[in-house]
Amino acid sequence: MSEHIASQKLYFIVFFSLLCLTLLTWRIAYIDLGRWNMVVALLISICKTGLVGMFFMHLRWSTSMVRLVVFAAIFWLAIMMTLTLGDFFTRNAVSHPQGWQASIVVPQPAAPAPPR
């Protein structure tokens, strides 16, 4: 068959890196980095995912079509997350100037309240 056969040595190297990264992420959780704890943990997860994907799942030797599928899934997940979170993060933002008076959507001859 045409597909790539990776060497077993490579699998073991990947495996030990994964174990080290797991140990690392666990230890770092006990160090106070403030808001960065989650960021670091996520970065390590992404690294681990990269290792598993590239080598265990043979993405490194895959056709570009398969890579496109992976990219598409991540792309759409990003769309879902961004737009949904965008709503929640901007929901309480105050946009109108403090003290703005009765909005005259259509110009009113007699303003109901005196300007400030």
Binding site: A72, W76, I79, M80
Partner: protein
């Protein structure tokens, strides 16, 4: 329409290759699976149609002529759930897509035939859950299953209905997966991407939406079921949950689902318009890429269902702008179809009438979509009959017209026989008239402010409602006539021959009905689709 020689049926074809119930229920032949779908969705369509008829009758009088509000709520819920998830979503993809994709690609079958059969069983399992919910007493959430109404306040069969939609979702996923792999890997030699018929492009875009969107709606409905079983507060505001989050997840699929319904119809119309004007399609690349553009942009616009829901107004503005953007590829398609007619040789068999009807109704449906994408106007017409009218113009005027057109166009290929064209033309015109009479008054009703899902309504809306109901009865007749003549034609229709329309495309090169493996020999494709101009030269030379 037939030529001088009398066409004869092929001796062996996929319909008579094997007999018996097992040969149908355990078949892996994509053409027979298409039949299974055809019969099941016609069944679901009639249930949804009966529910719609009862609703329209009830609205003849402001106090409700027929049923209590409680029953009315169940009627529109079952109408929505069945029509959306069990008729429109599978309609063209599962029937025409299943039948045609392998043939148009010159393949013997889809990539995963057993998965294909499985998807029908999954679909029917989901369908039986919903039918159970219907028989056991109904469900009254509306097809949108909004929380917290669906999780905390209703005692009807919400779990069966949501579970049914959840299960049927996996059928869509399997179908979409199968189609994408088939289109990528099973094309005949020489069939490059830009030699593909536009129907295939449309189905490819549809499959992307199936694959990306369906899991999301499946899991959000699963979360509703979990919330009902365990009384936990994922979307329950009393426990800190946010019902708007459910709306986000729900519409992330359910808005693109609209494109699942309309894109295949656009593909069908592209095929029909060229075949009946005997002209190469105008702007092939633009139509092909606009399908993909709709599939991608379609995922960015779901928030326009939530402008007044308490969503952030900034999110509202972003979603509004993106929703406007999706109008462009749709407009491009309409203009290209119109331009295809220019200097053609146009005939008006039934499929063409449906296709022209589609162009008109989709134009109206698409333009009224702009009203709903415009934040300030949506604030007024949101959740009114304006919305109902708009999406029926897209889904019935668009998707169903395309489906009917496609069935009429490929029926000779599917059954090997012709239907009475006169009757077909009459019913196409009846459907067009009835449809407009039903739904155009609803635009006016909506702008007047009549809310959707109202069992009883203020008396000044009665006149328009009566007109709408009158139109609905005409529409109903228009749908019954084809049912009769198609049933008749399966047995008694005149033999069609391989290419009754003198159309191009691989599906017309094999016999009607095709043999089990579609082609006697794997075809090799050497040129672009819709080669009517070359046909003209050949005839001239001859």
């Amino acid at each position: 329409m037939s030529s001088s020689e009398f066409p004869i049926m092929p001796r062996v074809h996929y319909l008579n290759a094997d007999y018996g119930i097992k040969s149908w229920l355990l078949t892996t032949d994509h053409k027979r699976i298409a039949w299974l779908y055809l019969i099941s969705i016609t069944f679901f369509f009639s249930i949804g149609g009966v529910a719609a008829a009862l609703m329209r009758l009830n609205l003849l009088e402001p106090q409700g002529m027929l049923v209590e509000p409680e029953t009315y709520n169940k009627l529109f819920s079952i109408h929505g759930i069945i029509m959306v998830f069990f008729f429109l979503v599978p309609s063209i993809p599962a029937v025409l897509g299943n039948f045609l994709i392998p043939i148009m690609l010159g393949a013997r079958d889809v990539a995963f035939p057993r998965l294909n059969l499985l998807s029908w069983y999954v679909f029917m399992t989901g369908g039986s859950f919903v039918l159970y919910a219907l028989i056991a007493g109904g469900v009254d959430t509306g097809w949108t299953f909004y929380t917290p109404l669906s999780t905390l306040y209703l005692n009807t069969h919400v779990m069966a209905a949501a579970g049914g939609v959840f299960i049927a979702g996996f059928s869509s996923i399997l179908t979409g997966l199968n189609f994408v792999v088939t289109i990528h890997k099973m094309r005949a030699p020489g069939l490059t991407w830009f030699r593909l018929p536009l129907f295939i492009w449309a189905m490819y875009a549809t499959s992307i939406i199936f694959i990306i969107g369906t899991p999301v709606v499946a899991i959000s409905l699963a979360l509703i079921v979990i919330e009902r079983i365990f009384h936990v507060g994922i979307f329950d505001p009393a426990l800190g949950g946010d019902p708007i989050l459910f709306q986000h997840l729900f519409w992330f699929y359910s808005h693109p689902a609209v494109y699942v319904m309309i894109l295949p119809s656009m593909g069908v119309v592209s095929e029909i318009v060229t075949a009946f004007s005997r002209k190469k399609i105008f702007g092939y690349h633009f139509i092909a890429f606009s399908s993909i553009a709709i599939a991608v942009i379609g995922f960015l616009v779901w928030g326009h269902h939530m402008f007044v829901s308490g969503q952030s107004i900034y999110a509202g503005l972003v979603f509004s702008a993106l929703s406007m953007a999706v109008a462009i590829p749709s407009a491009v398609k309409v203009f290209n179809w119109t331009a295809t007619l220019y200097k053609g040789s146009i005939s008006y068999e039934a499929p063409m009438l449906y296709a022209l009807g589609f162009i008109g109704l989709f134009t109206i449906g698409g333009l009224t979509g702009l009203y709903l994408a415009t934040t300030a106007i949506d604030q007024h017409v949101h959740d009114t009959y304006f919305v109902i009218a708009h999406f029926h113009y897209i889904m019935v005027g668009g998707a169903v017209m395309g489906y009917m057109g496609g069935i009429h166009y490929w029926w000779p290929k599917i059954s090997g026989r012709l239907y009475p064209d006169g009757w077909a033309r009459v019913s196409a015109i009846i459907i067009f008239v009835g449809f407009n009479l039903t739904f155009f008054p609803q635009f006016i009703l909506g702008y007047l402010g009549m809310p959707r899902r109202y069992a009883v309504y203020p008396p000044e809306f009665q006149t328009l409602n009566v007109i709408s109901t009158a139109g609905a009865s005409i529409l109903g007749i228009g749908y019954i006539i084809p049912l009769i003549y198609f049933a008749w034609s399966v047995r008694y229709g005149p033999v069609a021959g391989p290419n009754p329309w003198k159309a191009t495309g691989l599906e017309w090169t094999t016999s009607s009905p095709p043999p089990t493996h579609n082609f006697e020999e794997t075809p090799v494709v050497t040129e672009e689709p819709y080669g009517y101009d070359r046909l003209a030269e050949e005839i001239q030379v001859a």
